[in-house]
Symmetry: D2
């Protein structure tokens, strides 16, 4: 396997990239300047060096210390903790500009069928909840799909079972209803039911 | 203009149908049996005869009397009234199987720009609200888009202004949040804000 | 089944129309004026009366006599006959503005699996070829898909087998190659092979 | 700008990749093993070292000598030269399994508006045509779009103007017509015209 094929095979492992697009990436790099290729190789290499997982929320960041910028920010509200599946979901919530609490990245959702939690940071989540005295509410913020729902059920159960008796932790989930742009006519019955239940 | 073109032009006025598909409809009818064509012509003609608008909710139905099946049903909950834009939205809510109250079909939404309510049954809605003594809650159930929101604001204002003083009518709107299938990563900030606000 | 459902069921039989869009058509007609509904019913009814199949090319038309406008046109080139699957394909060729010969509508293509020619006007085609003395070329103009190709092979065989010995009829097929807009990178090998073979 | 953002910005420059997918690539690499990241960085770095442009057809390859595998292959037909826009188009023609001649990669197509040939290897093409004594046919194999057609016209003109008088070089273009899968009904008039003209 030559350098072209080897690089193409690596790009094929990237999320959403097939052989055709992987080939185009390689062609793009071949036509690019040696400087850009060097920049790319360096940036990839540097990822391992400068990026670490935040020791509190577990998202990846290049912050200097052990904590990421959000976790190190003293003005964030310590009483609420949003549990999200991925860094991307954390960033989406952050972009919405409403949430001022803390985050915890679980690392994925249960894959249906196996129902396994392996690879997810459930124990770390339970420990974090146990340790943080000011915590009053855990907001489960998983995608509104079967995997997200199954993970939410499981996480909720574990939190309830593991909470030190006497400690009052409210566990909530993101509200369901009509998303921006939804038309009733095309909405699924479940969404309409949720929209009716959460009317206000 | 011959019969083929004339029919094609009529089909072009159907919602979502362009010249090409209109032509295919005509070709389909040309290849069909005379019996099917007769059936279609009869069914179209009969629409005008047997279908009327329910005098209470204003949806189209073929019910015998002045009321449609839902409005004639004595077991429906008279304390709540869902205001919808169209028959299709009414049927979608009905299919969701949760709502047991009454309906009112406004007949559309405001078109932005004009902000006109012309063609919408606003006065009839206000009269209905005024006349129904058992009514306690009006649920505004419009699509979650700018037109739906503008119409909701307007309807809500008018209801508040027109309600007989002393009469207690709660005006609610369908809940917003994550629709079934929504992923946080791709959700718009407005939807995430709503999902956070309506968490439970 | 009431008039709304009955009409909806008929629309569902239209090509490419599902229950949802059929329902929208009915709603559109309900909201329309009685005049439009009458116009539609009349136009459908009239199709059977004023439209006939041309006795030569078999397409549907509202021409007065037995022949459609193209077949009645004395300036069309009698030496070539384009065999097409449908009226729509005939009209597409006519719109391209290049072809000045005659047409024959076969009425469809073989459905793979069955390989049956039933419903197709093969015998009428063979008779037409046999009867027309000035005919020199039959152009097979079917879609470039497996059904079209199977029909083309079959039609070609039958023409060769049935042609009166001594009569010289050339049978050609539409050229294959790159369609407008095709990029080599995404073209299938068959198309590229054809494009190479037919280079000029 | 930290390592995450820097790498994300580089991925955004990849063809067809927006900020969102660039971010996903970085997240994928963050979750991957250090070994995969090292492999990727090495493969990118190696591209510059082991890949060179073939001195005859100008495509990128990792062949040992100055020529790529195709150009070095003595059994390829020296009498025909296919001029393509890109490596990807060359590979597509090669996959079709019909062409046994030589290639020349022009390096792109004219961008309409500017009509400039800058960046394209036109002079190298003319020199190659001039030098190769056995060459009898140049096959212009550009995409069937306005840019490809404009480039083809220009290349054809230049070849004609620059050919040593007395030398006989045929210049052809890939055939146009129905691509595999095309339906007449949806084909553009230009394609149908080409399909009729190239019928056989």
């Amino acid at each position: 396997m030559d350098a072209i094929e080897r690089l193409s095979k690596i790009f094929e492992r990237f999320p959403g990239i097939g052989p055709r697009q992987a080939g185009r990436f390689v062609q793009y790099l071949l036509r690019s300047s040696p400087a850009l290729r060097r920049e790319l190789a360096d940036a990839v290499r540097e990822l391992g060096g400068s990026v670490k997982q935040c020791s509190e929320c577990y998202r990846f960041s290049t912050a200097e210390g052990k904590l990421c910028g959000i976790c190190a920010n003293p003005s964030r509200d310590k009483s609420s903790l949003a549990v999200v599946a991925s860094d991307a979901d954390l960033l989406a919530l952050e972009r919405s500009g409403t949430y001022r609490g803390k985050y915890f990245v679980l690392g994925g959702t249960i894959s249906l069928g196996s129902e396994k939690m392996s690879g997810l940071r459930l124990q770390q989540l339970l420990d974090a909840i146990d340790e943080r005295d000011e915590l009053a509410e855990v907001i489960i913020a998983f995608p509104a799909n079967p995997e997200g729902d199954a993970t939410a059920d499981r996480v909720r159960d574990e939190i309830v079972r593991n909470t030190t008796p006497g400690k009052q932790i409210k566990v909530t989930s993101l509200g369901r209803g009509l998303s921006t742009g939804s038309e009733l006519e095309y909405a699924d019955p479940e969404t309409l039911k949720n929209a009716l239940d959460s009317r206000r």
